[in-house]
């Protein structure tokens, strides 16, 4: 009964989405306030019904209702309760439902926080979001019904993929989707602006906080995914350039370009057409990413063809959204009026360089991700594009981008002075160069890439410091008072840039100085790695809730003293019989000591064991965390919440441009 209720709730949600799209969009075109006013209650009602459907599915999972096919395929009676709940979005159908739920959540958020928007703008934005929702709800109901019954009911479930039974995976998908779907808001604002033809600065100001929040969520989601892969896959890697990772990285690159280009559009009225295009691209890539990962096309192009209805729907939907929005763009964009000009060395030109580099990097990732799929689909042979390609492309593209990141925030709008910049930054350049040259010597040997990484990290961090010093040198009051009066946008940007510096430093260390060993270990034998001694004390049997494990005991010592005891496991899951390595990771200051079990070699208890020494890997997560907090802080700036009349804005712009 409950699954049918959920199914019914989805149908009602689809009807509400139809109303949310049709009436307000028509009303906005006709200037009919009554029709426009339908947008908010329709969006909120849709959220209620999608949440009800989601609740019904979660209930089916929690109560082990194996008469629902989705539950039978993806859950298991012995599965701990928390994973039975997260299994709700572990499957293709469930994750699509989560997508729609989050879209409805964002729509509701827009309906609540859009009081200061002109009525027609709010109606159009919510109408566009309703259109996207129609697409996804129709996809769910026609091809991927999560409530499909299984007759006769299964005795027990097939279990959730053991790899997903980790708490990193509990929060990773919702955060990632908050980011993906958040770009739908930026997309809806862009389309609404194109429809209305009012491409003014106010538009950029409205869509900026939404875009920044979505970007922060996406950053968090990617970070959690990377952290999960690092701990759970047992290979000690944190980024594999795997298509599933690239699928989330491409919208991030577009989103990063977008938040920077929006800054120019809001402050200077320039780059309007480009900003709109980026908003369309960021969301299109979010859609592409969702479908790449969730449709099974990555595991096999042909799996896609075995379910032609799903494949055809996805391709059709992508074609409508991407094609339709680009067509509207081509029609409307030429009418946009460009803002005031700028010289070759100015904050605008530096942000333009940032955008060019980010888009080039995006193109490179897109090529490396889609080309193998394209070749396979065309029957032209099977190829793979691995990390060497992405590394070869990324480092040379990102190095100049990171260098410019130091200068950009210090440059003036419109026209900056190069000699002045040299004077302000020469000490920072000197210190950063010294750091790059000397710091690697204190580590395990000089490595040029590590040196470049340290230089760039120090450069960005010193630029952040310079920006604060500049801001605090003038004005009155104590240091604390001055810091308190700095706008949150400034704090947010500097914090995010500082996070980048921390992350780059972490990558420079871990990519160049991490070491690993695969060793055979007899009970009582020891191995050494990076000054640490690992002593193997054998394994014991251990029973988990839904698995059996061989749990190893490895003592980690340094300078003759035991500093930690690790318990890596090799698990075999009851339902699937699948073996899985559960690595043991122990942070020692900024370094991770990481032990993973291989295979048992003989009856006397010898095992192959993989040992990792991962210095400064924590700085990656720490840096990403700074970026996330910076994003939220910047989005919370007061001026975004102040209602602005269009006439004020144009006056404002005229004053600035004069």
């Amino acid at each position: 009964m409950i699954p049918e209720l959920g199914h019914f709730a989805l149908i009602i949600a689809l009807l509400l989405a139809l109303i949310q799209a049709a009436l307000p969009l028509y009303g906005a075109q006709r200037g009919n306030l009554t029709l426009m006013a339908v947008a908010r209650p329709a969006a909120q009602g849709q959220f209620v019904f999608v949440a009800l459907a989601f609740g019904c599915l979660a209930y089916s999972f929690l109560t082990n209702d194996f008469s629902v096919e989705n539950v039978a395929r993806n859950s298991f009676s012995q599965l701990p309760e928390i994973y039975r709940f997260t299994a709700t979005w572990g499957s293709h159908e469930g994750s699509m439902l989560l997508w729609v739920l989050i879209l409805a959540f964002w729509s509701t958020a827009v309906s609540v926080f859009s009081r200061h928007l002109p009525e027609d703008m709010a109606a159009r934005v919510l109408g566009i979001m309703g259109l996207i929702s129609i697409g996804f709800l129709a996809f769910l109901l026609t091809t991927s019904n999560p409530f499909e019954r299984l007759l006769p009911a299964a005795m027990d479930g097939n279990d959730m993929n053991p790899l997903l039974q980790d708490w990193g995976m509990i929060i990773h998908p919702p955060m990632l989707y908050m980011g993906y779907v958040g770009f739908a808001v930026a997309f809806a604002f862009a389309i609404a602006a194109l429809l209305s033809g009012k491409m003014d600065v106010a538009w950029a100001r409205w869509s900026r906080p939404w875009t920044t929040v979505a970007w922060a969520f996406l950053t968090l989601g990617i970070m959690l995914g990377s952290w999960w892969a690092y701990r759970e896959l047992g290979w000690g890697g944190w980024w594999f350039w795997d298509p599933t990772e690239n699928a989330s990285f491409m919208p991030w690159l577009a989103g990063t370009a977008l938040i920077h280009s929006l800054a120019v559009t809001e402050k200077r009225g320039a780059f309007k057409a480009w900003t709109v295009l980026l908003a369309l691209i960021a969301f299109s890539l979010s859609l592409l990413g969702t479908f790449l990962v969730r449709s099974g096309v990555l595991s096999s192009v042909h799996a896609f063809a075995t379910d032609p209805a799903r494949g055809a729907f996805i391709l059709g939907f992508l074609a409508v959204v991407i094609g339709g929005s680009l067509a509207l763009y081509a029609w409307r964009a030429p009418k946009m009026i460009t803002g005031s000009g700028f010289t070759w060395f100015s904050r605008e030109s530096l942000l333009l360089a940032n955008n060019v580099i980010l888009v080039a990097a995006l193109g490179a990732v897109l090529l490396g991700t889609l080309y193998p799929l394209f070749m396979d689909a065309m029957g032209l042979g099977k190829i793979s594009v691995g990390p060497p390609y992405f590394n070869a492309v990324f480092v040379p593209l990102m190095a100049p981008a990171l260098f410019l990141m130091g200068i950009g925030p210090l440059a003036r709008w419109k026209e900056a002075s190069l000699p002045d910049m040299v004077v302000r930054m020469k000490w920072a350049l000197g210190v950063a160069l010294a750091t790059g040259l000397l710091l690697p010597l204190t580590l395990d040997g000089f490595k040029p890439w590590a040196s470049l990484g340290f230089f760039l990290a120090a450069w960005i961090a010193l630029a952040v410091l310079t920006a604060f010093v500049d801001r605090l040198r003038h004005g009155q009051g104590s240091l604390g008072q001055k810091l308190a009066t700095l706008p949150r946008g400034f704090w947010g940007m500097q914090l995010a840039h500082f996070g980048m510096a921390v992350g780059v430093a972490g990558i420079a260390v871990v990519a160049n100085y991490a070491t690993e060993r695969d060793v055979r270990m007899d009970v009582g034998s020891y191995a050494e790695l990076a000054g640490y001694t690992f002593t193997f004390r054998g394994t014991t049997e251990h029973d988990g809730p839904n698995y059996r494990a061989a749990r190893g005991t490895v003592e980690v010592g340094k300078n003759g003293k035991t500093i930690s005891t690790l318990h890596p496991e090799k698990r075999v899951y009851n339902a699937s019989g699948m073996a899985m390595t559960e690595a043991a990771v122990r942070p020692v200051a900024f370094t991770d000591i990481y032990v993973a079990m291989g295979e048992q070699l003989d009856d006397r208890g010898a095992w192959t064991v993989r040992l990792f020494y991962k210095p400064f890997i924590n700085w990656l997560w720490l840096g990403a965390a700074f970026m996330v907090v910076g994003g939220f802080l910047a989005a919370s700036e007061k001026r975004y919440r102040i209602a602005l009349r269009r006439s004020d804005v144009s006056k404002n712009l005229a004053a600035q441009g004069a």
Partner: protein, 148 residues
């Protein structure tokens, strides 16, 4: 310079930068593509001997042999028609088993031994790497044609 010239210069710089990026990307792309060959193709001498490539198929039953150090493993990959002997040093993935699908990346030695630097077996009991599945399918098709 007139504003129009400035704009043109700016566009020229951007286009030039993009051009450099494109050349860089395509060059890296070309030299880092990893091609896939089935055991039959390798046996026919279609695989390169001077660059790394991927092979795939099933791990032949009874073929896994571990050397004394416990870390070097020899096994045979088959597409049910032809086989390739493979050697790999290191810890194998959890789902590496006899009779299951596998994909390995490495180089082919002059003695016909494939020295793998990476062994991939995906994390799903019933999952067959698509390359391996297609290699077996191709081999079986070819055999059928011969029989007919």
């Amino acid at each position: 310079m007139k504003p129009r010239h400035k704009k043109l210069a700016l566009i020229a710089v951007v286009v030039a930068a993009l051009g450099v990026a494109v050349v860089l990307v395509l060059n890296a792309f070309n030299s880092n593509l990893v091609f896939f060959f089935s055991p039959t193709q390798v046996a026919n001498g279609e695989a390169p001997t001077n660059r790394a490539f991927r092979i795939g198929g099933l791990v032949e039953e009874g073929s896994i042999k571990r050397e004394a150090d416990g870390l070097t493993t020899r096994f045979v990959v088959t597409d049910t028609a032809k086989t390739i002997p493979v050697t790999y040093t290191g810890i194998l993935p959890d789902l590496f088993k006899e009779g299951k699908g596998v994909v390995a990346e490495g180089r082919l030695g002059p003695d016909g031994l494939f020295a793998a630097t990476q062994v991939l077996a995906k994390h799903d009991e019933n999952y067959m790497p698509p390359e391996a599945a297609s290699a077996i399918e191709q081999a079986q098709k070819a055999q059928k044609t011969v029989v007919e």
